[in-house]
C-alpha cells in the first residue's frame, strides 16, 4: 500500500518537475530572445565582400539588402537575436538587467546556426546579428557566440553576413577570433561619459567598453580604412548634451575606430530613481543627432560649426538649415558655378542632387524647370540659390500678403511711426 503511494507521489513529483523545468520550445525562445534584442538599433548588412563557397551557401552584397520592414518602419535585413537574455550585469536602463523578473531563455550555437541557415535559404535575411547578455562570465559567453559563428562558417560554409557583438571584458584572443569569422563587430559604449556610466551601469566602465574597439583597431592597423566596427549610444537617459555625444562620435570617426555610431532614444522600460521620468522618448532629438552625424561624415562639416551658440542641436530645424541661417553671408550660391562641396552645404541639396546638378550642367543648361525634371527638391533650397544670377524665389500675391502681415507684426511700434508705405512686391528673402 505504502509502496504504491510512494510510487504515485514520485510520478506526480516528476511530472511537476518536468512541468516547471521544461525547456521552452524553439518558437518561444525565439520570441523571447528577439524581443530582448529589439533595442539594438544596428541592422545594416552593407560592407561585406564574401563570395559563395563552392560547397556552401550565401554571399555578401556590398550595399546591403533590406528584406522586409517591421511595423515600426525599420528595415529588417538580419536575424537580430540574443544568444541568451540571462545577464550578470544590472544596468538600470536595460530590460534584461539581472534583477528584472522577465522570461529568460538561451539558444545553443547549433540552434542559432540552423535558424540562420533556414531563414537565409528562404531569402528572409542577409545574415546574422548575434548579441548576448553575459552568461556566467564574458569569456564563456564570447566563446559560445564564436562557436555559433564557426558552425555557420566552417560546418555549413555559410558566407552570408555575420555581425557579432563583442562582450566587454572578454579576452583579447577571443575578440580577435570573433573578428576573423565576422563581417562586422560592435561594442556599445552605451553612454557618452564615465560619470553617466557609473550612475546607470555600475558594472561597466568606459575603458572596459572601449577596449574591444581598440583591439579591432589594432588588428586593422595596416589598413587606412575605418575599422569594420560600430557602436551605440543611448540618448536622453542622462543629462549629457548633444555636443558631448557628438564629440565622442567625432573622436571615434577621427581615430578610425568605428564606421558608424548608432543613437538610440532612451525608452523607459525600468523604474529607478536614477532614470529620468519621461513619457515620450526623445525620437526627434535622436533624428537630429543622426542628421548631424551625417554632416560630420559625408558633408565635410566640423563639430564646432554645428555648435556655435549652444550645447544642443535645435529641435525645430535641421542642423544644416540652422548652420545656413547662421551664415547667410555664404549665400546665395550660384548653381552654375559652385563646386560639389559648396553645393552639398545648401539646405535641401544632398550628395545625390549635387551630383545630378554637376552632370546636368556639363551637357546642358540649368533652369528651374530642368531642376524639377531632375527631381531636385527646391522647397528649402530655393531660398539659398541663384541660377545665372536670378533667385528662384517667386512669391504669389497670397504669400506676399502673408509675408507683409508677418513682417509688420514683428515691428508694430516702428510701423506706426513709418513716414511712408513700403512696397513688398520686390522683396526677396535672400536679400536680407
Amino acid at each position: 500500500m505504502n509502496f504504491v503511494n510512494i510510487k504515485k507521489n514520485q510520478e506526480i513529483f516528476s511530472k511537476k518537475i518536468t512541468f516547471y523545468y521544461k525547456k521552452p520550445d524553439l518558437l518561444t525562445r525565439l520570441s523571447i530572445l528577439s524581443m530582448s534584442a529589439k533595442y539594438d538599433n544596428s541592422c545594416s548588412s552593407s560592407g561585406g565582400k564574401r563570395e559563395t563557397h563552392p560547397y556552401g551557401i550565401g554571399n555578401s552584397y556590398l550595399s546591403g539588402i533590406c528584406h522586409t520592414w517591421s511595423s515600426d518602419g525599420r528595415c529588417v535585413s538580419l536575424l537580430k537575436i540574443l544568444m541568451t537574455n540571462f545577464c550578470i550585469n544590472n544596468c538600470k536602463y536595460c530590460i534584461n538587467r539581472r534583477q528584472n523578473d522577465v522570461p529568460r531563455a538561451i539558444l545553443t550555437p547549433e540552434e542559432i546556426a540552423n535558424l540562420t541557415l533556414e531563414f537565409y535559404r528562404r531569402n528572409y535575411i542577409e545574415g546574422l546579428f548575434l548579441s548576448s547578455g553575459i552568461y556566467r562570465n564574458p569569456d564563456y559567453t564570447m566563446e559560445l557566440m564564436i562557436k555559433a559563428a564557426k558552425i555557420l562558417r566552417y560546418k555549413y560554409y555559410f558566407n552570408g553576413y555575420i555581425h557579432l557583438k563583442l562582450i566587454p571584458g572578454a579576452s583579447r584572443e577571443l575578440i580577435e577570433e570573433a573578428f576573423k569569422v565576422a563581417d562586422r563587430v560592435s561594442s556599445n559604449l552605451e553612454l557618452p561619459t564615465e560619470e553617466s556610466l557609473k550612475k546607470l551601469a555600475p558594472d561597466k566602465s568606459f575603458i572596459k567598453l572601449y577596449q574591444p574597439l581598440q583591439v579591432i583597431r589594432d588588428i586593422y592597423e595596416e589598413k587606412q580604412l575605418k575599422a569594420p566596427a560600430s557602436t551605440q549610444i543611448i540618448i536622453g537617459a542622462t543629462p549629457d548634451t548633444d555636443k558631448t555625444i557628438l564629440s565622442v562620435s567625432e573622436k571615434l570617426y577621427r581615430e578610425k575606430m568605428v564606421r558608424r555610431v548608432y543613437y538610440s532614444a532612451y525608452i523607459p522600460v525600468n523604474k529607478d530613481k536614477d532614470l529620468p521620468d519621461i513619457k515620450n522618448p526623445p525620437f526627434l532629438r535622436e533624428h537630429r543627432l543622426y542628421q548631424a552625424d551625417w554632416l560630420l561624415r559625408f558633408y565635410g562639416f566640423k563639430l564646432d560649426e554645428l555648435f556655435e551658440n549652444s550645447e544642443n542641436l535645435s529641435l525645430e530645424i535641421d542642423p544644416k538649415l540652422a548652420w545656413a541661417l547662421r551664415h547667410l553671408e555664404n549665400f546665395p550660391i550660384e548653381l552654375t558655378k559652385a563646386d560639389y562641396y559648396e553645393l552639398i552645404r545648401i539646405p535641401g541639396i544632398g550628395p545625390v542632387s549635387a551630383k545630378k546638378i554637376i552632370q546636368a550642367r556639363k551637357y546642358g543648361e540649368l533652369s528651374p524647370e530642368s531642376l524639377k525634371k531632375l527631381g531636385i527638391p527646391l522647397k528649402r533650397a530655393k531660398y539659398f540659390i541663384t541660377i545665372k544670377g536670378k533667385s528662384l524665389l517667386q512669391l504669389n500675391k497670397k504669400e506676399i500678403n502673408l509675408f507683409k502681415e508677418k513682417q509688420l507684426e514683428l515691428f508694430p511700434k516702428f510701423f506706426i511711426n513709418l513716414p511712408c508705405k513700403f512696397s513688398y512686391t520686390t522683396v526677396h528673402f535672400v536679400d536680407f
Binding site: 556552401g56 515600426d72 528562404r122
Partner: protein, 247 residues
C-alpha cells in the same frame, strides 16, 4: 493613332524599333505594345508585328557599331522596362544620337530624362526584389518563389540567386508575365509558360511561423509607425510575402 503590337521577345522589340527608326513616319501618333502584358491584342488601328530574327540581329549589330558603348549596354535594359512604354522616347534618342553622340548624357533633355527616370525605377525595383522575393520550401527541399514585378526583372535577378544558392534547387515564377526560371541540379532554364496557375498553401513550410513570430517581436512598440512601413513596403508587394498572409 497606330498601335504596333510585338510578341514580347527581345527579337520582337528590336524588330519594331528598327521599323520605326528607319521609317519616316512621325512618332507622335504611334504606340508600341507588348502582347504579353497589354490588353490591346487586336483592333482597327492595331498592327501585329512579327519578329524577324535576321532584321533584329542586323539592327543589333548596327547599334553596337554606332552607339556609345555605355548607351548600347542599356538597350536590353530598356526592353525589360516593358510596362514603362519608353520605346518612342528611345527611338527619338537613337535618332538624335546620330547628330549629337553625347545627347544621351544630357539628363535635362525630355526623352533622355524619361529614359533616365525609368532606368532608375528599374534598378530600384530590381534591388528591392533581391530582398523581397520569398522562397517556400516544397517537398524534396525544392525552393519555390513567385512574384509580380512592375518591370521584367527576372532575367536580371536570377544570377544573384544562383550565386547565392549554388547547391540548392529553386524555381522563380513571374506570375504577371508567366515567365519561369528553373534551377535544378545545377541546370537552368528561363522560359515563358502560358496557362500556368499556381496555388500555394503557407502551412507547408514550418519556418513561416518562426519568421512571423520574429517579425512581430522585433518591432519596438513605442516606435510603431504603420505609415512608414507602408511607404517602405507598399501593399502591392505584400501579396506574395508569407509574413503578411493569413494562415
Amino acid at each position: 493613332m497606330q498601335i504596333l503590337v510585338y510578341d514580347g521577345t527581345f527579337c520582337g522589340f528590336l524588330t519594331v524599333i528598327n521599323l520605326l527608326f528607319l521609317g519616316k513616319k512621325p512618332l507622335d501618333n504611334v504606340q508600341i505594345e507588348n502582347s504579353r502584358i497589354t490588353r490591346i491584342k487586336s483592333g482597327l488601328f492595331t498592327e501585329k508585328i512579327i519578329s524577324k530574327p535576321e532584321i533584329a540581329k542586323n539592327f543589333y549589330e548596327y547599334l553596337r557599331k554606332n552607339l556609345p558603348i555605355e548607351f548600347f549596354k542599356k538597350i536590353y535594359l530598356y526592353y525589360l522596362c516593358d510596362t514603362a512604354k519608353i520605346e518612342i522616347s528611345l527611338i527619338r534618342v537613337l535618332k538624335e544620337i546620330e547628330k549629337n553622340p553625347i545627347i544621351w548624357k544630357n539628363i535635362t533633355h525630355t526623352d533622355v530624362n524619361r529614359l533616365y527616370q525609368v532606368e532608375k525605377n528599374f534598378r530600384r525595383e530590381k534591388h528591392r526584389y533581391l530582398g523581397v522575393l520569398r522562397f517556400i520550401e516544397l517537398p524534396e527541399r525544392i525552393l519555390f518563389s513567385w512574384f509580380e514585378p512592375k518591370f521584367n526583372i527576372l532575367p536580371c535577378i536570377y544570377k544573384h540567386f544562383i550565386n547565392r544558392f549554388p547547391n540548392e534547387n529553386f524555381i522563380i515564377f513571374d506570375n504577371f508575365r508567366k515567365l519561369i526560371f528553373i534551377y535544378l541540379k545545377k541546370k537552368m532554364g528561363l522560359f515563358f509558360v502560358d496557362n500556368l496557375e499556381i496555388e500555394i498553401s503557407y502551412n507547408v513550410d514550418p519556418f513561416i511561423s518562426f519568421w512571423r513570430t520574429y517579425l512581430k517581436e522585433i518591432s519596438i512598440p513605442e516606435r510603431i509607425n504603420f505609415e512608414r512601413q507602408r511607404n517602405r513596403l507598399p501593399l502591392k508587394l505584400r501579396k506574395y510575402l508569407p509574413e503578411f498572409q493569413e494562415i
